[in-house]
Amino acid sequence: MEFKSINQLKSLLDENKISVKEIAQTYIKKIKEKKDLNIFIYFDENIIDDQVKEIEKLPNNKKLKGIPIAVKDLFCTKNMPTTAASKILENFNPTYESFVTQKLINEGSLFVGKTNLDEFAMGSATNTSYFGNTINPLSNHDIPLAPGGSSGGSAAAVAADLCLGSTGTDTGGSIRQPASFCGVVGIKPTYGLCSRWGIAAFASSLDQAGIFSKNVTDASILLEEIAGHDERDSTSSNVAIPNYSKQLNSDLNGKTIGIPKEYTVDGISDEINAVWDDAIKSLEKKGAKIKHISLPHTKYALPTYYIIAPAEASSNLARYDGVKYGFRAEEAKSLDEMYEMTRSEGFGKEVKRRILIGTYVLSAGYYDAYYLKAQKVRKLIANDFIETFKDCELILTPTAPSAAFPLNEKQDDPIKMYLNDVFTVPASLAGIPGISIPYGKNKSGLPLGIQLLGKHFNEQEIFNAAFALEKDYE
C-alpha cells in the first residue's frame, strides 16, 4: 500500500477508512523490508506503538494526525536517543524535545524513527556516519548509490516510501542535494524561519531545519507547522508564517525568474544543463519572464563556506569532551589525555578534519586572513542576491553538479566531495530559502533536481513556482 500525499492519508483517516494503528503497521512493515538500506539509526516498534496510543486520543482536526514522519538524528528527541551519527553521542538520551519535532508532535505526527546522516551533518553522501552508509533506494542492484548528504537518511526514507515526510537540516546543501539525489522535494527555508533549539549544532550561522516530502504541497503543509518564532533561539525570526499550502498558486504570470550565468560551470554534465533548460522553457511557457542575471561572487562561495562552517563547528563541537554526557575514553590518566582520547576515538575522520580546519582559520595570526575575510566575502555574496532580487522574484539553478554517485566514489577526496555543494552553498551563506524538486532523469534513469531560490522569508513564492514545475512530471 502506498499513500501519495498527506492530504490523501488524512482523508482516509478522517473517513475512518484507516486507523492510526494501521498506518503505523503499514510503515513498520515497509521499514523492516528496507532494513538493508540502513536508512534509520533508530527504529523501535514499541516506541511507535506508544505513540499510536497517544495519537489515537487526539481530535481529528490535528493537522498531522497519524502522518508518518522520519526525523533526522540531529534533532534531539525525548523518546528516542539522539546520536548525530557520532560515536561521541552513542547512547545519548536527551531529556528535551527540539522545537521543530515538538511542533510536529503537537499536531499528531507519528515518528517512525531517527534517520541516518553524515556525522554531525558533515558530508555530502551520508558516508561519514558512525553507523555506516545509507544506500540510495534508487540504486540498481549492482552499484549501490549514495543518497547524498548530510540528510541522506531523511531523503532516502521519503524516496523509499518509509514515511510521508521527514525533517532535515541544511547547512550548505544538506537538504537540497540529497533531495536531488533521491528524487524527492526538499526545502531549506530562510535562515531563522525555524528555531534551531534542540538541533545539535554544526555551523550556527548556517544551520537551518527543513523538510523532505513526496510533493510540493506536502512540503508546504509540513513547513508551515515547523516554522515560527522561538524565544529560546536568538537567531529565530519573529515573522508571521503564511498558510503556504492554502495559498499555493501555480500562476507564474508577471513573475521574473533569474538565471545566473555563474552556475554554468565547467565539467558539469550536459544532462544537468539539459534539465535546467527544460525547466527554464517550462517556466516561460507558464507565463514567467526569464532574465539572465549575474551573481559575480559565486565562485568564492565554496571556499568561503569551507572557512566559516568549520570555524563555527570547531567551537560548537568543543562541548563534546567526555565530561558531561556521551562517550568518554576511560583509560585516560589526566584531564588533557581524557580530552585527547575521547575526541580522537569519539569523532570520525571528516569531523576531525573540519575541527582542524576550523581551529586553524580562527588561530591567532590567521584569523584576519581567513575567518574575517570569509565573513566579508559572505556579505558580498549576500549582496549579490539582494541586488538581483530587486529585479526578479526567483532564481532557478541546478541543485547538484551530478546525479547520485556510487557509494564508494569520492570517499578519499574531500575536495571532490566538497564540490557537491557548489550550487547550494551560496544561498546558505546568504540565508535565503531554496527548494530542490525532482525534474527529469538522466540516461541511467536517476533523478535530477532543480533548485529555486527566493528572497528572505518568501517561501511562498518558491512553493508556487515549484508547484507549477512539479505539474510537468505528474
Binding site: S98, A200, S204, R232, T235, S315, R319, D321, K324, Y339
Partner: protein, 491 residues
C-alpha cells in the same frame, strides 16, 4: 605623594593595572534562567544551556545588560550602543561549552574613570579602559575524592562584569583604594553585592616595575585574587621579586602567576608553551547587541546618588574633610546610616563631625565585636541621634555616653530611658557641684596647699576626685569652672 620603592641599588616605581571581575547582581544567569543563589547544593542550579547540552542556545538576560550599563554610567564611562558577544575557546572540565561567552572587540562599556582619595586629602583619577560582560565558569572540586575531580556547574553561566583599568595604579595601597572604590560604586548602584568572600568580586593584577621616568617594564599577571589583603600582599611580593631580578641584571618573563596565600609567594600558572590561543570569534548563536539610546537615557535617570556625590555633599554641607567624607561614603550602608542620624534631628546638622566620629569609632567597634552589619545595627540611627543630642545639651558627658551606647547596643532601649533608669544624668546644678568641690577641697587640704604653692598639675587630681564623688555625672565644664574659682579664692 611619591610612591617610589627602594631596591638595593635603585629607586623603582611599581606600575599596576587591575582587571576586576564583579558578579552582576541578578536573580538569573547571563544566558539562561537558572538561579544565581550562592551556596546551594552542587549542580542544583544548572539548566540545559548551562550544562551545554546538544542543541541548547544562549539567550541574553536583558536585566544583566541593564546592570552593566548602569555600572558603566556609575564609572562615568562611555556606553556603547553596539556591542558583540564573542566566544573564547578553551577546554576545561568546568567549562561545559568548551568556550566562554565574553566580549572581546566590542565591549558594552568603553572608557571611564574613578577617583580614589588619600588620607592627606588629595585625590587621584584611575582611568577605566572598558567593562565587558562574560559568563563565569563552573567549579572543579579536587578535594572531595582522592582519585576523582567533581564538577559543580551552579556558577556556570553566572554574569560577570570585567572592569579593566589603565596601568594608572602605583602602589599596593592605591590598588586597595581603587578596589574599594569600585566595590563602593557597584554597591551603591546595586549592580554587584560586593561580597569578596563569596567570590562576587575578584581581581587579576597586572604588575611591572620601572625606574622612574622610564618606559613600562615587562608585566606579569597575578590571577584570581579575592581579598584586598591578598592583593596588597601579592603586589608587594611580586614587585620585590621583579626588582630583585632586574637589579641582578636579569629580565622579567611575561607570565601568568598564581598567588599562594599560605606562603605569600607568586608562582607561574603555566609555561609559555602552554599559553592559550583563545580563537575569539563572534558567537553565531547571538546577534550583536544594539542598545537604543532611549534605554540608556532612562537608566541614567535611575542612577542613585553615588559615593563621590555624597562625599561632595558631606564636605559642603557638613564641613567634613575630604578623607572623612570618603571614609563615611565608602560603604553605602554606613553613609545611609549617617544620613539617617543627621536627618533624625535638625540640631545635629552642626554636629556632623561628632556624628561621624561616633559612627566610625564607637559604633563600629561594637558592631565589629559582634560581627553585625551596620544595616542590622541594634542601635537605630534615631537613637544614636538622640544620644548625641544628649551630649550636646550637656545632659550626659561623652564618657558616660559611651557606657550608655553599650547599654543601648544590648537592650535596644532609648538612651533617655537608660539614663533615667541608671541615674546617669549629668549634674549641671552649680550648688550641687559646689558642695562636692567643697567636700573634696576639705578632704585634701595638703594638696590644696601644694597646688597653691605652684603645683598646677594637681588640678587634674581635684577634677578626678570630684568626678568620682559625682559618680562621673558632674558636668565637666561647670566642675572645672567652680573648682578654679574656689581654688583661686583660697589664695
Amino acid at each position: 605623594m611619591s610612591n617610589f620603592v627602594k631596591g638595593n641599588k635603585y629607586e623603582w616605581e611599581i606600575v599596576i593595572g587591575l582587571e576586576i571581575h564583579a558578579q552582576v547582581k541578578s536573580n538569573s544567569k547571563l544566558f539562561s534562567n537558572s538561579s544565581t543563589a550562592f551556596g546551594s547544593n552542587p549542580n542544583s542550579q544548572v539548566s540545559l544551556v548551562d550544562a551545554a547540552m546538544p542543541g541548547m542556545l544562549p539567550v541574553i538576560n536583558s536585566y544583566c545588560i541593564e546592570q552593566a550599563i548602569k555600572t558603566g554610567i556609575g564609572l562615568k564611562a562611555k556606553i556603547n550602543n553596539y556591542s558583540v558577544f564573542d566566544r573564547k575557546n578553551y577546554f576545561y572540565a568546568d567549562l561545559p561549552q568548551g568556550y566562554q561567552i565574553s566580549q572581546y572587540k566590542y565591549p558594552i562599556v568603553g572608557e571611564g574613570k574613578v577617583s580614589i582619595d588619600f588620607k592627606d586629602g588629595s585625590s587621584k583619577d584611575i582611568r577605566i579602559v572598558r567593562l565587558h560582560l562574560e559568563q563565569d565558569a563552573g567549579k572543579s572540586l579536587h578535594d572531595q575524592n582522592p582519585t576523582k575531580t567533581y564538577v559543580d556547574l551552579n556558577r556556570s553561566g553566572v554574569a560577570l562584569m570585567e572592569i579593566v583599568s589603565e596601568p594608572d595604579i602605583r602602589s599596593a595601597d592605591e590598588a586597595g583604594l581603587y578596589i574599594n572604590k569600585i566595590r563602593s560604586i557597584l554597591m551603591y548602584l546595586d549592580t554587584c553585592d560586593g561580597n569578596m568572600q563569596e567570590g562576587s568580586l575578584r581581581a587579576d593584577v597586572n604588575i611591572s616595575v620601572r625606574k622612574p621616568g622610564e618606559d613600562f617594564g615587562t608585566r606579569c599577571e597575578i590571577k584570581n585574587l579575592n581579598s584586598i589583603k591578598f592583593i596588597k600582599q601579592a603586589i608587594n611580593y611580586e614587585a620585590k621579586r621583579q626588582i630583585e631580578i632586574l637589579e641582578e641584571g636579569g629580565t622579567i618573563q611575561q607570565n601568568t602567576l598564581l598567588f599562594n596565600t599560605n606562603s605569600g609567594k607568586t608562582k607561574p600558572m603555566r609555561s609559555k608553551e602552554e599559553a592559550h590561543d583563545y580563537r575569539y570569534f563572534p558567537d553565531p548563536d547571538l546577534l550583536p547587541l544594539e542598545i537604543d539610546q532611549k534605554i540608556i537615557d532612562k537608566l541614567v535617570k535611575s542612577i542613585p546618588e553615588l559615593p563621590d556625590e555624597r562625599k561632595r555633599k558631606y564636605a559642603e554641607e557638613f564641613n567634613l574633610s575630604n578623607y572623612d567624607a570618603s571614609v563615611l561614603t565608602a560603604d553605602k550602608s554606613v553613609s545611609d546610616y549617617f544620613d539617617s542620624v543627621i536627618k533624625s534631628d535638625k540640631a545635629l546638622i552642626d554636629s556632623a563631625k561628632i556624628v561621624a566620629n561616633w559612627i566610625t569609632t564607637e559604633l563600629f567597634s561594637l558592631l565589629k565585636e559582634k560581627n553585625i552589619e551596620i544595616s542590622n545595627s541594634p542601635i537605630s540611627s534615631e537613637y544614636l541621634g538622640k544620644l548625641i543630642k544628649l551630649i550636646k545639651e550637656n545632659i550626659i558627658s561623652g564618657k558616660i555616653a559611651k557606657d550608655v551606647l553599650i547599654e543601648m547596643f544590648e537592650s535596644k532601649e532609648e538612651p533617655q530611658i537608660i539614663i533615667e533608669k541608671k541615674g546617669l544624668r549629668q549634674v549641671s546644678d552649680t550648688s550641687e557641684i559646689e558642695n562636692i568641690v567643697d567636700e573634696v577641697l576639705h578632704e585634701n587640704q595638703k594638696m590644696v596647699e601644694q597646688y597653691l604653692s605652684g603645683k598646677d598639675k594637681l588640678l587634674g587630681f581635684f577634677v578626678g576626685q570630684c568626678m568620682k564623688k559625682s559618680k562621673g555625672k558632674a558636668n565637666p565644664k561647670i566642675l572645672n569652672d567652680i573648682l578654679k574659682l574656689k581654688l583661686s579664692k583660697k589664695n
